[in-house]
């Protein structure tokens, strides 16, 4: 089981030297899952048999002289990514038995590089939520303190990496859904620039905000995953045709010549003092590494949550219209008419949060309210983008907390909708502006819960993020610290 805790890069060298096989590594990971999964609930679907067969296959390929960049590495993916060989539920009853007829492009890319896909991970239904409590198939728990949330919506993707149930995972991020669980579970998570990674086969929530990205044990692994999943895809017309650099080359010691901004609006009264302490110390580490710290204002930050909770539901209400019980998914077989079949199937298949967002989105787009809500929000979105455009004239990076608090107890905030929505305030703006952002572990709370630091940069400047995150990782002294689970 000891190999389950390896980083991707460590496993690559052991596999290359012949000290470890893909089958041996996969067996270690499966044994670890066997030992901890009943407490952590990271997975919705697990396919041990196929994983072992696949591992044997890539071991054979290596013997014949071929090894991809992820050859033999056990990884898992959020259950929002289509997989031909495993059901894809999106955490929803409505897709409980749906097996897609094709693989998402990122799944193809992982497998083409020799990755061994172990299973599909728990998430808030259709990625709508900040705790993964809206998952129809069990709620993932925080490996650092079971009973506490793993975050969301990619909660299973974060708990899986933190609990050593896979070496790395993929998540998706529409308003913070990779960065927030990464922060709460003490792993590295990146939301790439919108258009950097193909969305083909990513089940759509809010198409102008969604982006796929990696969750890993350290920054070097994040760079490796980004090297594999990035790039133009003709099947996704919103992916951008732009060369993919070697992200690993970005991990350089020192931050000289880079300006890091600390926006005044991101450090307000609602911020937990322990989070503030850890993030301020992370900013000091960047300064120690040679970065110049500047203060910049992002004046429209206070409107981000309002803009997001109109635009994301509006797009969701349109995207989720496809679940009508006709071609796939749950159908009410007793309905007498077509209309009744639609509404009964949808009402039985969707959970509360999904219904709420479909309703708010339909309302914001409906006759008489479109200008007041959807159009107004889309205009303020422009002002939020322009805040960032101005900031990049004065700095290369924005440093801040990811989430205003460390993880909280499961059930603690589930009755207070607005409090939960407001906890997304620090992550939402990156999606609205389409910029890359990541969370890197920077420290711990007094009760032993991890706290991440958020870094944001201009479009396609993932390299600057990785360099800064790597410099924090080198100085924070938390890399390699693992939860004591067994």
């Amino acid at each position: 089981m000891k190999h389950a805790a390896l980083t991707l890069c460590e496993a690559v060298s052991l596999l290359e030297q012949g000290d470890l096989t893909a089958v041996g590594l996969t067996e270690s990971v499966l044994a670890r899952i066997e030992a901890v999964e009943k407490r952590i609930h990271s997975f919705i679907t697990l396919d041990a048999e196929r994983a072992l067969a696949r591992a044997a296959e890539v071991d054979e390929q290596r013997r014949r002289g071929w090894a991809g960049r992820l050859c033999g590495l056990p990884v898992s993916v959020k259950d929002v990514l289509c997989t031909r060989t495993m059901r894809t539920t999106c955490g929803s009853r409505i897709l409980e038995n749906f097996t897609p007829p094709y693989d998402a492009t990122v799944i193809r890319k992982l497998e083409d590089e020799g990755a061994v896909i172990i299973g599909k991970l728990a998430m808030d239904e259709f990625a709508m939520g900040s705790t993964s409590e809206n998952c129809a198939f069990g709620v993932p728990e925080n490996p650092w303190l079971p009973g506490y949330v793993a975050g969301g919506s990619s909660g299973g993707s974060a708990s899986c990496v933190a609990a050593d149930e896979s070496l790395a995972t993929l998540g998706s991020d529409t308003g913070g859904s990779i960065r927030q669980p990464a922060s709460l579970c003490g792993v590295v998570g990146m939301k790439p620039t919108y258009g950097r990674v193909s969305r083909y086969g990513l089940v759509a929530f809010a198409s102008s905000l969604d982006q796929v990205g990696p969750l890993t044990r350290d920054v070097a692994d994040c760079a490796l995953m980004m090297n594999v999943i990035s790039g133009y895809d003709p099947a996704d017309s919103t992916s951008v045709n732009r060369e993919v650099p070697d992200y690993g080359a970005a991990l350089q010691d020192g931050m000289r010549g880079l300006r890091v901004c600390v926006p005044v609006e991101y450090f307000n009264d609602g911020l937990n003092p322990e989070v503030e302490r850890v993030v301020r110390s992370g900013i000091d580490m960047l300064a120690d590494a040679g970065a110049e710290i500047v203060e910049v204002s992002l004046p429209h930050t206070e409107y981000c949550v309002a803009v997001y909770y109109l635009i994301a539901p509006a797009e969701a209400s349109s995207n989720l219209a496809r679940y009508d019980g006709v071609r796939y998914g749950v159908r009410d077989m007793d309905a007498g008419s077509l209309l009744e079949m639609y509404s009964r199937s949808r009402s039985a298949g969707f959970g509360d949060e999904v219904k709420r967002r479909i309703l708010i989105g339909t309302y914001a787009l409906s006759a008489g309210y479109y200008d007041a809500y959807y159009k107004k929000a889309s205009q303020v979105r422009t002002l939020i983008r322009e805040d960032f455009d101005r900031a990049w004239q004065q700095c290369d990076l924005i440093a801040s907390p990811v989430c205003p608090t460390p993880a909280w107890r499961i059930g603690e905030k589930s009755d207070d909708l607005m409090a939960l929505y407001l906890s997304d305030i620090l992550t939402i703006s990156a999606n609205l502006a389409g910029i890359p952002a990541m969370s890197v572990p920077a420290g711990f709370s007094g009760s032993g819960l991890p706290i991440g630091m958020q870094l944001q940069a201009a479009h396609f400047n993932e390299e600057v993020l990785l360099r800064a995150a790597w410099n924090v990782e080198q100085r924070a002294g938390v890399r390699g610290r693992r939860p004591e689970l067994v």
């Binding site: 709420r356 309703l359 107004k376 422009t382 929505y421």
Partner: protein
């Protein structure tokens, strides 16, 4: 109130969702609190501001009009809750 029970019922019909009376009650309150919060956008002057509907400056993404293989029919039908031959079956629409 920013939104009434009747409006929620109307929107539910548009969205093809069937809500129980207690759900209508609860959701009306929740939607009202979201819309009240969203009303803070009224304070922002957006006169003459263009809308952002997409974070990248991509307009039409054209491709060559080439004949290529598409989804296999059996694969497309594989998840159908009800099918007949090469068709999806739904309740009768015309009587």
């Amino acid at each position: 109130m920013k939104i009434t029970r009747e409006e929620v019922e109307h929107v539910a019909l548009l969205a093809r969702l069937e809500l129980r009376p207690d759900e209508v009650e609860r959701i009306t309150g929740q939607l009202d609190s979201i819309l009240r919060y969203a009303a803070k956008l009224d304070r922002v002057d957006t006169e003459g501001v263009a809308v952002t509907t997409h974070p990248q400056d991509i307009s039409n993404a054209f491709r060559e009009d080439e004949v290529k293989a598409s989804l296999d029919r059996e694969d497309a039908l594989a998840n159908a809750p009800a099918r007949k031959g090469a068709a999806f079956v739904v309740p009768r629409v015309l009587s």
